[in-house]
């Protein structure tokens, strides 16, 4: 279980997180929604320690993440980045098997390649992609490779940062379905940040609305349409008028 309690983070005078409280139960898929620039990525990176929060506590299974052994802690996570964040200089299969080629999870090269190809197949990519460089792939294929890399070491917890940004609606749907299938299949805990409502409905068990640096509403995805929260209502309907200012 991931638990955030009164988490605050500021960049100079910009108070991005102003006391976030959120609980993500083991084996569930939490999607955090909110407009651009509301601090969703900062929240996600705070959990991973990529951004150091100013105050509050973040715990994983009751242990403070800032006090955990970094290698052991990070070995439990996989992450799909918004732009894929694939390593340009490495072929696709070495990107996917990155964790399996070094460190505590190191495997023999042939075995790592086999696992990489199997994971590529799992996300709908053919083995001939394995030896290509990331720059030779389309945006959708890069997302799939990023997804394959996130699941390669079979992590307990997977984070998805804007998984459908920059993709056409059909490819978005394919990626959403893949994420949902993989999370169910692996029994992983998932945390996704997005402002794409089709992703929310496809991926989420639970939804949290981040606005003004705090969680405005949280509940099951089935309750989202009848939340009664004016922020959630405006966000999911995409209206310009409402408590969320259209120009930030």
């Amino acid at each position: 279980m991931i638990e955030l309690s009164n988490v605050k983070k500021s960049f100079g005078s910009n108070h991005v997180l102003q006391g976030v409280d959120l609980t993500i139960d083991r084996g569930t898929s939490m999607v955090i929604i909110g407009g651009s620039g509301t601090g969703k990525s900062v929240l996600l990176k705070s959990v991973l320690g990529l951004v150091v929060h100013d105050s509050g506590t973040i715990t994983l299974d009751g242990q403070d993440v800032t006090k955990a052994d970094r290698d052991t802690f990070l070995a439990r996570f996989g992450m799909l980045f918004q732009g894929g964040a694939l390593f340009d200089s490495l072929p696709v299969w070495q990107n996917v098997a990155f964790r399996l080629l070094r460190g505590s999870l190191k495997r023999p090269k042939d075995e790592a390649r086999e696992i990489a190809i199997e994971k590529l197949r799992r996300v709908g990519l053919k083995p001939d992609v394995a030896d290509r460089l990331p720059a030779e792939l389309s945006g959708g294929m890069q997302k799939r490779v990023g997804l394959a890399r996130a699941i390669a070491a079979e992590p307990e917890i997977i984070f998805f940062d804007e998984p459908t940004t920059g993709l056409d609606p059909i490819m978005s749907s394919v990626i959403n379905d893949l994420i949902r299938e993989i999370v169910d299949e692996m029994g992983a805990t998932a945390m996704t940040i997005t402002h794409d409502m089709s992703s929310v409905r496809a991926i989420a068990d639970n939804v949290a609305m981040l606005h003004g640096g705090v969680i405005k509403w949280t509940g099951a995805v089935g309750d989202m349409d009848h939340s009664g929260d004016p922020y959630v209502d405006q966000f999911i309907s995409g209206r310009a008028d409402g408590p969320i200012e259209a120009v930030r």
Binding site: G83, A85, L86, G103
Partner: protein
């Protein structure tokens, strides 16, 4: 009164800023050294860095050295002719290239070619979240990106300086024997007899320091890069400026130290 104090305020802020920057770079360099000597070691990345910094820099180092050596021979011949000292061309070319021009020019070429490349590559990785991705994949960016590059530069730039010295001396030899009428055997004999082991060692030591400066500045500016294309551009420009100035400053200090020995 406040108008009079304003320049002092600017001076104070700039001095504090400079000291803070020196502190950050020093801490970064110390962290790099600690990562170089502690496992894990990424041999593939080290090998790639050796190729990029060493092997692929050979053409630019060779061309710079040969033309500089040739020009130096012409200048010394023309200058020496004013007081009938044309015969000192082999000795002055040798000492000029080995003690001074070889290490400095190789250092500056490395700053232009390697520092910029390292800074741009790491800055782009930062902007595209590849460095964050490294962290999530349980890989320390300092160990994976910085330590192999700095170690490779520390080892291979002295080698490049040695090669640059030889090619520079050859440039002087080619011009002196080809156009200035020097005897080939006598030129080589004068060069070899004049150079001391200390000249060569000081040249290689300078190469090691300059390699460390060039690679550390590239890595530091890349890791500190701001967002977007502008951030990458600024990191690249800043790294080359800092490396070039620091190499010239270090050369002055080292030359003073070597003369005092």
């Amino acid at each position: 009164m406040s108008a009079l104090l304003a320049p002092l305020g600017v001076l104070g802020r700039n001095t504090l800023g400079l000291m803070a920057a020196i502190g950050r770079v020093t801490l970064f360099a110390l962290q790099t050294l600690s990562h170089i000597v502690r496992p894990p070691f990424y041999s593939r990345e080290f090998g790639v860095a050796l190729m990029q910094i060493g092997w692929l820099s050979l053409p630019v180092v060779g061309l710079t050295a040969v033309f500089t050596g040739g020009a130096l021979a012409l200048q010394i011949y023309a200058g020496g002719a004013r007081f009938n000292a044309e015969a000192v061309v082999p000795q002055i070319v040798a000492i000029g290239m080995v003690r001074e021009l070889g290490p400095v020019l190789v250092g500056l070429m490395i700053a232009a070619r390697v520092t910029s490349s390292i800074a741009a590559e790491i800055a782009t990785m930062k902007v595209t979240e590849q460095i964050d991705a490294l962290v999530t994949l349980s890989t320390h960016p300092m160990k994976y990106l910085v330590a192999p590059r700095v170690l490779a530069a520390l080892l291979v730039v002295p080698l490049l300086v040695g090669i640059g010295d030889i090619i520079g001396v050859f440039g002087g030899y080619a011009v002196a024997t080809g156009t200035l009428g020097f005897n080939a055997a006598a030129y080589i004999k004068n060069t070899v007899n004049f150079l001391e082991l200390f000249d060569i060692l000081s040249s290689l030591a300078k190469g090691c320091v300059f390699g460390g400066i060039a690679s550390t500045m590239g890595c530091y500016y890349g890791m500190q890069s701001g967002r977007g294309a502008q951030g990458v551009g600024r990191a690249t420009k800043g790294s080359v400026e800092a490396a070039a100035v620091l190499i010239l400053a270090a050369n002055f200090v080292l030359t003073g130290v070597f003369f005092s020995l």
